[in-house]
Symmetry: D2
Subunit: 356 residues, 4 copies
């Protein structure tokens, strides 16, 4: 519970599966893929012979970075890539070894690794969205015809059916499900610009190398670097907060329904109280609200980080790193929580009503 | 400067043209269009005869709401629509007059009016984006070959060309220009749900009436209301902040270039100082940064407003109204400021360099 | 409703009385007071003779700035002070007239005017807090013994008395009432630093002039300028959001009580619905929540504006101006709304219970 | 680097020493102290005999909670206290053992533990502030007389001395140093209210027990619980962001000085680049800006969490836990970074100038 500085509350906002995607292990694996793909690109441009390239790629595959050294260098360099590259260059030998990382820069490694982690996050969110939508469909099938009171502006308005409220929960999630696919397509973009963004060090070979890199990494090469234009990162942040927002609305509704009592919802598995054993608190519903408000808070920092001065802003870039993984974890945790919550709904509304 | 409670600083973050789109005049014009289109829908559903409908539409066209009364009612009702509808109903006479606003609710009027105002805002932003991109293209033509130093992490990195930095400014704006069209398509959506979202009062006529309404207002009918799913509003908020963010990055760059001096940029028309007449401050550049940070701040409130409880949340809905128009104005002001700033650039970079 | 670009929703978040404190009229009155006090300071330092000083002060008293010219200059200079000073200098004549604004800078004028406006805002908030606390005490006297159900984590917990919940509303407001006095004392600080903060132009006379200025303006001279240290502004922003937060909590409680119905609260004067005339919406309660979330959003921008680079940051300073007056208005509107809401409470809880 | 879901970037925003204060170990130690002090209070009220109390306190001292069980229960209960209390109650035996946790509730344990963690954080920040102020004083002694150009609105203004800029850095930190003591005094407050805040279960013994509890824990008993009034938590959040803001301003200044070059500042130990070995990036300065913007982002969530509905809001409370420890870590990291940065300043300004 407190290894490595973790707080006791991290279990509430964290998501271990998604956290793993932003771990050092995942990062260095991305770095290695990038450097291998770059060697292939350099080979495609005939700057390295095919056999030499294969040898270098093998050496990179076997490279185990000294993480303690990188951790130390991180505070000095503000980014883990320079020491990784230094170590890698010190390791590889043979013809072409002087071309490891040739034409690339730290930002190419880190942004590409982030894009990969975001893509993998999306795959996890996608599966969880599917599972949640299935649960909601099950509820609709079971309880959709039950009677509920619609509530507008915190006042009972008119009677309607449970299916009406369930539709208001499902429709935004279905739209978000569809958008996730588009988001992934739009943001699977290679970051590759070299020292100051123009790939000058590669001269006329820049295009062929960039295209090879993108193909190897299954990322689109947009024709230019986007070091200081953070659209792809921001698109994810907006999406993540929109997802937790849609789930937070469900959480808020369930909490209000639980407050109104059995005529609205019956929940099992609620949270216990240390002072009042008779209570069953709608803890998962509250947690959805908290996670939504957390991401709605954090997203502002990603928007602030757009002011990415000149050709590379360490300040704005670090701010992204401090925020984006937390938003991914919150979104993952919210989806898992929402599914669990829906699994605890024993009944929505009251049977036998005509839903009017 | 201080009519109607305006602050002296409103000139810096406001945009009078866009403010007009969110004025009472614009709002009631939208309400009238909605109520007229609804009459057409009811006529299409044969609930009102064609001649009666024409007569009602004429009466609505001539309706001048008593605004002072609505202003007073706004604080009581929390929304201007109920008193508007009360006044309208008191005015219209003749067959079918009892069907004015039939099946609709305040939220249908207000959300649709907001969508219309956002659509018109988009049209203004679009023109201004075109104008700005033209200015950037002119700069590129004139100064693109000049030499500049690339700056990464607040340190001179390598030489490159003015066109490299200009491309980093233009590319995101071009992408935002393209996205504006898509945004408009996706969010030109009719809000129509009646009291609690299900159009129950209209029975089997709901679809034909909704489709007629949408056609008349040139808005897409998505097949259901979206009272509590604020995606379209949020999409605009995200876009607006992404736009001001891209402009804020330009502003930050120009301010830094102005700090570095003539080798980077020559500006005319800078701001004066009361204490140091020799100074030419890059005021427009600073203003772009301020507007970007303002919208990056405000966007968080729109994300918070996603937690729109039950079938209609007065709290979340009011929060949107307090924020979204300000974001639109800030975006409009930022585009105007950016164009003005680019018009004051006498030179970027230094001629004669090879840009390396 | 739409004069001067005001939006139709401004009635919900605005406060005309407080808005007046941030108007051009108020600003230029502050500027004039500052310039007059500065003349007195210069006279105290014997740089101007007493009769000449009196004559200059009279001339400043009669000065009516050309506001249209200042509005125009605002966009160029990014601050209204330089053109104001230019106009004033063009107007005044006689011995010592060349010393108008001597040693001061735009920031001295604007920050001091802001401090004055914040002080006056505090005086209004103070009165409104008193009025609200009186209303809460009246409710306590009338209904304090009534029975209520305590609600923890959105579940009925145990019975208690209306006075318990009322105490949870009043205690934070009483603490905020006490803090307002302290806040005012701590932040009634003169801003005076001249061109770059050190009052160098005044040489050995700096202290005597600064002390005179402070005495004349009833502001404390802290011994140095604080151009780039925005603590006093931030202290107000934090306070304003804490105040609206305490009121938002009351609003959220009242909205939930209204949802639970008559056993919790009876409200009169609720908001109407255009579709459901039977409803009485707790609009004022919702508005308190919206205003709290608005200020909780805006306060982040004030914290961002702390990064006030070098000796004066136009970007950070403008961001303050765009935000702080809105926060003041929201706080004023929230206090007025809370008092009105408490006046509409016909009963809290149920009489005759033992409150357990 | 990636144990327990930690991200690779956590090294940049985290602070292991402060993280430990919010760990499970620290939490359960606080819980134990609370439960022990409560036993003393119950003994003081003669509800438990002195020897029985001593025996219970010993048993609590020896209690090792099953953390895996609590981790599991955390997601169900939304708070670690109920399962902790359940385990503790299962363990203790003997007379009075049925009174363990008597009259208290989960929130009393958790809020008090948080107050303790915040107090310890303050002690660490205090030491680091002293160290930083010493470094700044050393710089002042060494370089204070050097010549610098003052920069206002991103333009060179006038010459001044290095001591002028250093004073603008130190003064806010000195004020924050003084405020830290006050903050600690004001917020070392016992949270104790029982199930719904009124300590009803303790009847007439409430006051004596509360006072004993406070004395034992070295916390002030304010005379009532403050379950739903989050002022003490918010005061810390505001302070933490104000501290990182003051450091972020220094970071921004140093980054700009590094951009302007040797005439402004000479830094050693700057960050390396993977593509440009000649560069020395002002990484620590950038990091200060990032941490300031992170806390300025997060503080908004704490302000949102003020809307703590009814007698206990799980949603608002969880939001605090997700945010406040991160803000503490960011503040700790920023202070350490600032001290390190100041230690790398080889020279500010240029000797031999007259500083004008």
């Amino acid at each position: 519970m407190d290894t490595g500085g973790q707080g006791w509350m991290d279990g509430l906002s964290g998501d271990p599966e998604i956290a793993g995607l932003f771990s050092g292990t995942a990062l260095f694996a991305s770095f290695a893929r990038f450097e291998q793909a770059l060697i292939k690109g350099l080979a495609q441009a005939k700057l390295i012979g095919p056999d030499d390239a294969a040898g270098l790629i093998d050496q990179i595959a076997g490279f185990e970075p000294d993480r303690a050294a990188i951790d130390g260098a991180l505070l000095r360099d503000g980014v883990p890539a320079p020491d990784y590259v230094r170590q890698l260059r010190a390791l590889v030998t043979g013809p072409g070894s002087e071309l490891v990382h040739h034409g690339a820069t730290s930002q190419d490694l880190v942004d590409t690794a982030t894009i990969e982690a975001l893509g993998r996050t999306g795959a996890i969110l996608s599966k969880r969205l599917d599972a949640l939508l299935t649960r909601l469909a099950d509820l609709e099938n079971r309880d959709g015809g039950n009677a509920l009171e619609a509530i507008t502006r915190m006042q009972p308005a008119l009677g309607f059916k449970a299916s009406d409220r369930l539709a208001a929960w499902s429709q935004p999630l279905e739209a978000l499900r569809a958008r996730l696919t588009k988001l992934r397509e739009q943001t699977r973009i290679l970051q590759f610009g070299g020292a100051v963004g123009g790939l000058r060090a590669l001269g006329d070979n820049a295009a062929i190398i960039a295209e090879t890199l993108g193909r190897e990494l299954d990322l689109r090469w947009p024709g230019h670097s986007w070091h200081a234009a953070r659209g792809p990162m921001l698109a994810h942040a907006n999406y993540l907060s929109e997802l937790t927002g849609a789930l937070g609305k469900i959480g808020q509704d369930v909490a209000l329904m639980a407050l109104r009592g059995d005529r609205d919802i019956r929940l099992s598995g609620g949270g216990g109280s240390s002072a009042m054993p008779h209570k069953q608190n709608p803890v998962a519903a509250e947690r959805l609200v908290a996670l939504a408000r957390l991401n709605a808070t954090l997203v502002a920092g990603m928007h602030q980080a757009q002011i990415h001065e000149m050709e590379r802003s360490g300040a704005a870039w670090m701010l992204e790193w401090m925020i984006l993984p937390k938003m991914c974890e919150a979104a993952g945790a919210a989806l898992a929580t929402a599914s669990a919550l829906m699994g605890c709904v024993d009944r929505i509304g009251e049977p036998g009503g005509d839903g009017r």
